[in-house]
């Protein structure tokens, strides 16, 4: 590969590597798996760099999402059951939001990879339904149904603060 393209690849990784790791960590919840995912995607990008360098970030992101989903499918994963559902908060406390986030974070990691990918694209990257569908290579309707199912499952697991009745506590 030409030296200018090599330099461009190095600069791209230096500039965007941390952002890509953030996405991968949100998808996997595991530091090593996140590094593996990004490294694998960057390697594929490097192998095709002369062709894809003008739109490298979109290419790498697409690989990250799709590799995660396809690996999940290939090795026969199904939904990971949560042995002990996160505690449903019964009372609103000053640290309730933190507790909610922790509970949702744990529940997120129990979702199937495709549903988690949809949530990461929608809520971390603020992608529209159409953009999410484009990245994942599916129809917008599939994205909407996956997102809806994922949120329903999270609601089942941790409850929805909007619907919660607060029985005790001075914040009422």
């Amino acid at each position: 590969m030409k030296e200018s393209l090599e330099a461009e690849f190095t600069a791209f990784v230096a500039d965007r590597g941390q952002t890509l790791l953030r996405i991968a960590h949100a998808l996997t919840g595991d530091r090593g798996a996140a590094e593996d995912l990004v490294q694998g995607a960057l390697a594929k990008a490097y192998a095709r760099w002369p062709r894809i360098h003008s739109d490298a970030e979109a290419y790498v992101r697409k690989i990250i999402y799709n590799d995660r989903v396809s690996l999940w499918r290939r090795i026969g994963h199904r939904e990971v059951p949560v042995a002990e559902p996160p505690d449903r908060p019964h009372a609103r406390r000053p640290d309730q939001e933190v507790a909610d986030r922790m509970a949702v974070r744990a529940a997120l990691l129990s979702l199937p990879a495709r549903q988690r990918a949809v949530l990461v694209l929608r809520y971390l990257e603020d992608r529209s339904v159409e953009e999410t569908a484009e990245v994942l290579g599916c129809r917008p309707g599939t994205v909407a149904s996956q997102a809806s199912r994922a949120l329903a499952k999270l609601r089942d697991l941790v409850g929805d603060a909007d619907e919660r009745t607060y029985s005790t506590g001075g914040l009422r």
Binding site: Q39, L42, L108
Partner: protein
């Protein structure tokens, strides 16, 4: 947006915020990317290679067009070798013996477990295995390591994960994590006697004592600047000298190797090699005469052996698998399907079938 959605957004942000810091992603990606390109090109040309091989010889040849006269074979005829080992059904309970007196010292876990190692229980059929030479059986290591590389001798093995290395004591299974490592497992190489680990660092060589985890750095200013594509320090015969491939100025072509003193880092000499030495264990004949090299990084089915002192091409092997010098005149070619022993003229001497459970996994070999 509901409060649940807001909480999801915050939770996803939390997860993203706790991502590891990027550490030399470009180097590792570049290395893997080159392998992908090579594989693609190899697959493209595979049909032609297969046809050519079928016409020429069954498996291995000495290429007379580009090389010096082939070395006179001094290996014993097959009838005088000990019988080729046969691997037992319960192979994990005893050392897997290979032709040439070598054994399998470590087996890395399957690709699926490398990528998602927390699924299910590690077994001998899928996990990271190291040979405990004291008991003669294989020990299963934790699935968190991508790769395990057994030392050619002694009680230690290298474990590798996310650009960090650790030293496993094969007699106890305990792992000492070291807070550093090369961008690829090939950047760490055991000395022939297994008592030192050589790690390629940004500034030079690092020698790690596996027994204590301590290290000694030897800087080689300038050496890495003109390094060839596969830029790794490697042991030469007897573990008394170190090689580093160099490229021609302004070119990607390999010009030769620089030979370093492991004590001082001084350049002892430069030898005009036709390509980079093979990165891995046992790439040098025990008598120091020959070194295995990669003649064409795009074609992993060919290896040459060259004279260590002059770089003169002595022969070419064709075939897939990791190649190891097991004696001055014997080369063992190891794949996850079988191990084949050749003499330097390319004559196949013996074959041992590997256990079916090793398919597709990285295998280390060495002495018992």
């Amino acid at each position: 947006m509901t409060r649940l959605e807001n909480t999801v957004r915050a939770a996803v942000d939390d997860l993203a915020a706790t991502a590891p810091r990027a550490h030399d992603l470009a180097t590792a990606a570049r290395f893997q990317g080159r392998r992908i390109r090579r594989r693609r090109r190899t697959i493209t040309g595979l049909a032609a290679v297969v046809l050519l091989s079928a016409v020429l010889v069954p498996y291995a040849v000495v290429d007379g067009r580009r090389s010096a006269p082939p070395p006179t074979p001094v290996a014993p005829p097959p009838s005088e070798l000990p019988p080729a080992p046969v691997v037992s059904r319960q192979w994990w309970k005893e050392p897997i013996r290979l032709p040439g007196g070598f054994v399998v010292t470590a087996v890395s876990q399957t690709l699926e477990r490398q990528i998602d190692g927390k699924t299910g229980t590690s077994t001998v059929a899928n996990g990271n295995l190291v040979l405990d030479r004291a008991t003669g059986s294989y020990r299963i290591l934790a699935p968190r390591y991508q790769t395990v590389i057994g030392a050619p001798a002694g009680r230690y093995a290298l474990v590798y994960r996310a650009n960090r290395i650790g030293i496993a004591d094969t007699t106890t299974g305990e792992v000492r994590q070291l807070g550093y490592g090369p961008a690829t497992p090939l950047g760490a190489q055991w000395s022939p006697d297994g008592t030192k680990l050589l790690v390629t660092q940004d500034r030079g060589m690092r020698f790690v004592d596996p027994a204590t985890g301590t290290h000694r750095d030897v800087d080689t200013p300038g050496g890495l600047k003109e390094c060839a594509d596969e830029c790794f320090f490697g042991w030469l015969a007897g573990g008394t000298e170190i090689s580093l491939p160099q490229r021609r100025a302004g070119s990607r072509d390999v010009a030769g190797i620089q030979v370093y003193s492991p004590e001082t880092g001084a350049v002892l000499r430069t030898v005009p090699f036709p390509s980079s030495p093979v990165s891995g264990q046992n790439a040098v004949s025990p008598d120091g005469r020959y070194v295995l090299v990669d003649p064409d990084p795009r074609d992993r089915t060919r290896r040459m052996f060259v004279e260590a002192g002059t770089g003169r091409i002595a022969g070419t092997f064709v075939g897939s698998g990791q190649m190891h010098f097991v004696a001055a005149d014997l080369i063992l070619v190891v794949s996850s399907a079988e191990a084949r022993l050749y003499d330097l003229s390319g004559r196949l001497l013996q074959t041992t079938q590997m256990p079916p459970g090793l398919a597709g996994r990285r295998i280390s070999v060495g002495r018992l």
